[in-house]
Subunit: 296 residues, 2 copies
């Protein structure tokens, strides 16, 4: 990871955690457990890659940080919802996440289901608040784009297909589509949001979309490789889960060597889409390299 990327990630993580702390207060009373579970899931310290994508995309258009960081927080809330629900016994049945017990292990299944629902709802509340941007037209565009990215034609569809993947017998095209939905849709929203906040031109929006498309796939292949070759302690979660679950992955279809080449190709291609932004896109460019070289 480049120094500037590391610094930017740390900075964005601090900023986004500040917003998340504000919108997720400690609550007393009988609903205290629900809020505790929401805070536990959200403030456990993920890498905050999606928030960085929102902020770095916004920076291309000089979007004020106080606007992009709230959109970044909304994305992280949706992402956290998907992790909490994905970890449930009826879904991936995971006990560990980032080295800590998953929400349903730390609390209970019912609380985990409700915490996910509440985090998803909160994301839209955050976007809708005037603090996110004074222009209502722009806020409603963000709400709509996030709903499309997160819902049954986006992330949730990807999760549904992923659950069935073991029995579907997907080919490379099918698995690519799965990944574009499951992780790609929200990553694409991050870059789209920067463009929305920054009143980007059509050409600029297309470039960001193409970048997000390739970056998302590169990330996913790197994730699959880590599941095969990674270290459980370093990752903070179980490894070799895909094979155990009989899931078809791109790495499984292509083999490790070809998958590694494919990830490299996608990262290079992602960076190329940023050419029209010139030097301003340095951070987004650094992310393409990080996507395929990370160890966790």
């Amino acid at each position: 990871m480049t120094d500037s990327l590391q610094k930017a990630l740390a900075h964005v993580a601090r900023q986004v955690d500040g917003v998340l702390q504000t919108v997720l207060p400690v609550e007393a009373g009988p609903e205290g457990r629900l809020f505790a579970a929401m805070r536990y899931a959200t403030l456990a310290g993920g890498k905050r890659l999606r928030p960085l994508l929102v902020v770095a995309s916004g920076d291309l258009f000089k979007v004020p940080g106080e606007h992009s960081i709230r959109v970044a927080a909304a994305v992280e809330l949706v992402h956290t919802c998907s992790l909490v629900h994905d970890d449930l016994p009826a879904m991936d049945d995971d006990d560990l996440r980032r080295g800590q017990p998953t929400v349903h292990r730390k609390y209970d299944e019912a609380t985990a289901i409700l915490a996910g629902d509440a985090l998803l709802t909160l994301a839209f509340e955050v976007l809708a608040a005037p603090a996110t941007h004074p222009n209502a037209e722009l806020r409603i565009e963000l709400v709509r784009a996030l709903a499309v990215a997160a819902g049954a034609h986006g992330m949730v569809a990807g999760q549904a297909i992923d659950l069935a993947a073991a029995t579907l017998g997907l080919d490379t095209g099918g698995v690519t589509r799965l990944q574009l939905l499951k992780t790609g849709a929200l990553i694409a929203f991050c870059c789209e949001a920067g463009g929305i906040l920054g009143h980007a031109t059509v050409a600029q929006r297309h470039a960001l979309k193409a970048y997000a498309h390739d970056l998302g796939l590169a990330f996913q292949i790197a994730d699959d490789l880590l599941d095969i070759e990674g270290d459980a302690a370093e990752l903070g979660k179980a490894v070799k889960k895909d094979a155990a679950a009989g899931k078809t992955t791109l790495v499984g279809l292509m083999g490790v060597e070809q998958a590694r080449r494919q990830a490299r190709l996608l990262a290079t291609q992602a960076a190329a889409h940023l050419d029209l932004f010139g030097a301003k896109a340095a951070l987004l460019r650094d992310l393409t390299e990080f996507a395929i070289s990370r160890r966790s």
Copy 2:
């Protein structure tokens, strides 16, 4: 039920089902099962009371039907999400809903979790679309109000408290608060939405809020009474679940006779809040009577 209420319910049900059919298409491909589950849950024919509340509140201000019906559809999507998730084994563990297998029994738990997430997300997508209202300021106000009503300070908080109710030892005040959150918040949003769409005055908004407050509680007490005295076949779901789960209800705290008096008092009071709307509020007034006299 009055004739005009019965007619209005049937009309609104047809209209809202039309919108729901449009936003919930049959999908082919590996995500077909997810969409089938979403359609199964949503189009199974509930009473559509919440949609009627939105439309009848909007009618007070001559809100065009094509606007209020989309908000009504969004409310029904959120309501359906809550039913699907509430029925899960980790929550209320119900096998039947409206006389049919619950979503996780008809499909599977994972699909039920994801279908709920997708329905919740779709509600915000529907509200955010320009078809709901040409004015973005107004649409974003609706998004924000629905998120507040549905989330961790509203409906989901109520569900969380309800799950813990057996062990919390709630008194009348505690149970009332639970019910105001669990069912009252979304009912209040229905009336609030009519006011938002209709540019209601502050006094009119207060009246609608007070009406919804009392109507929601009256409905809930009637629900609790039906759980004790109702017929499982007529209701299409299991009865005497509250007692079996050791849940504290207002009926349990007050006794059947006092609870019946309380429901009647709340219904009368709810109707009184509508005085400033005069004859225009006939349908909303009819609903207060229906709330406490229904058999299912």
